[in-house]
Assembly symmetry: C2
Homo-oligomer: 310 residues x 2
Amino acid sequence: MDPSITIFGDWGSSRLRLYLRQGKSVLDRRDGPGIGALRSSPERTFLDLVGDWREARPAGAMLCGVVGSRMGWVEAPYAPCPGRANDLRERILTIEAEGLPVSIIPGLSCINPLGSPDVMRGEETQILGALALDPALRHGRHLLVLPGTHCKWTLVEDGAVVRFLTAPVGETFALLRQYSSLAAGVAAEVQGSQAGFAMGLARIIEHGPALLPHLLFETRSRQLLESLPPDDAMGFLSGLLIGADAAAARTWFGDLVQVTLVGAPGLNRFYGQAIASLGGQTTAIDGEAAVLAGLTTLSFPKNNDFHVLA
Amino acid sequence: MDPSITIFGDWGSSRLRLYLRQGKSVLDRRDGPGIGALRSSPERTFLDLVGDWREARPAGAMLCGVVGSRMGWVEAPYAPCPGRANDLRERILTIEAEGLPVSIIPGLSCINPLGSPDVMRGEETQILGALALDPALRHGRHLLVLPGTHCKWTLVEDGAVVRFLTAPVGETFALLRQYSSLAAGVAAEVQGSQAGFAMGLARIIEHGPALLPHLLFETRSRQLLESLPPDDAMGFLSGLLIGADAAAARTWFGDLVQVTLVGAPGLNRFYGQAIASLGGQTTAIDGEAAVLAGLTTLSFPKNNDFHVLA
């Protein structure tokens, strides 16, 4: 066993991404199926993808994401927040897969600003990573937005997650894009254009996020009656959904003008544009870099002078 | 040919319903596939379903709905509204299918209250039918709501459609119900409960329709953390979507306290409950009865002393 070598993994509902890591370097990287698309058990899937990495004799693996949910490999119960310091680390579950120790990171739960129960899995690790990458986030009040399948608006105070609010924006877009009449006849490979995005964003800001269901249909009617090109129409749909999320969530975090985005670069850009249109400012952290930094923080606690729970 | 016998049809994207009609009586009724699920041409599908009804020697057929769209049988261009009287009737397209005259009713287009182009196909016939069934609707200003796949909020003045606003509420519910993580693990046959609907409606009214994307996730988190039963969760989802539509559309038709619902009885009840929670009053007309009354009105213009276009 080589204690300097570890396997890191981000295992969500739609994708598994594994990294073979030595110190601060990524030696190799492999992609596999999400928890929602498994053909064999999570253990088998994981071990098959690890494959010949075992020859490097890794000390263990650490995984975050839906893998720790009831529908995943083993359930790592949510750490409630705000909670005690180190609740997250104490709740890490370690199991064994053919002799390899596998640590599974729990998610966080809270009562969100609307008074609803709310949950995240995977994003807690990205938040931890964002705090590692940008030390200024460890002190004072900060709004972190993690766009994606389920966008998380997260309030962090002095390095601890206080509460968060979820909107299934990416998932709604994907379903409307793939199956709805709004995208009827639009080829699967068509991307949303930047011009279309700006148009959708402007419409939702003009009329307010409450009118989202009614503006959605414009995606279709402008194609029918005004020959709006498909790539503009798909951008328009994205602009409406992201704009509505940003405009409404801001009413709950409105005093926080400065927002840190943690996500894929393309999504960071779209959210940055939406938040700027609403008078906010953003800085962006790459979501993948944040996952790796978060897993590093959890693997090497001695180098960690902050926490994610109050 | 027997001039007293006609075939009526309502052919939408997800369903074809044909009626064999003599005078005011429906002699027989048959269901077939929607325009979105055809296995042969529209003509072949139609003639196969008509089958032995030809022995009754019907004078012709009259069809409304998506059948008249670009993706249907033949395109019957939209009648713009508000427009000239009788625009709708003049734009009926008549074609022939193996010697049987088939009349296809056009839809309506308008610039909606949000300044967007908007369209309907099939609902114009239901509106005509509602005006036939309830003569009080033919004079003064009335708000008609036609819930369904694409809910239509329609302003009628002195018997004419002035403008309308569409929200794809039923379609969004169906996609989230069938494919999303909000309904993960919920069996296909689970119905939304009335108690769940009331809970979702109360939540959206409490926080306002702008927070719809954020309240949607509660459908999932309450199942995960509070063991909300699946039928209550699906009712909750429906309550959020219908409540958000009603609460936002009301801002555009807010002075019209009295609303006429034209739709399936179950949907009429849900929308009635949502509108009542917002201080409105409703009366309901069965959507199928309205289609038949509308097709009758268009078939026998001499008995028709009103119009749907100004």
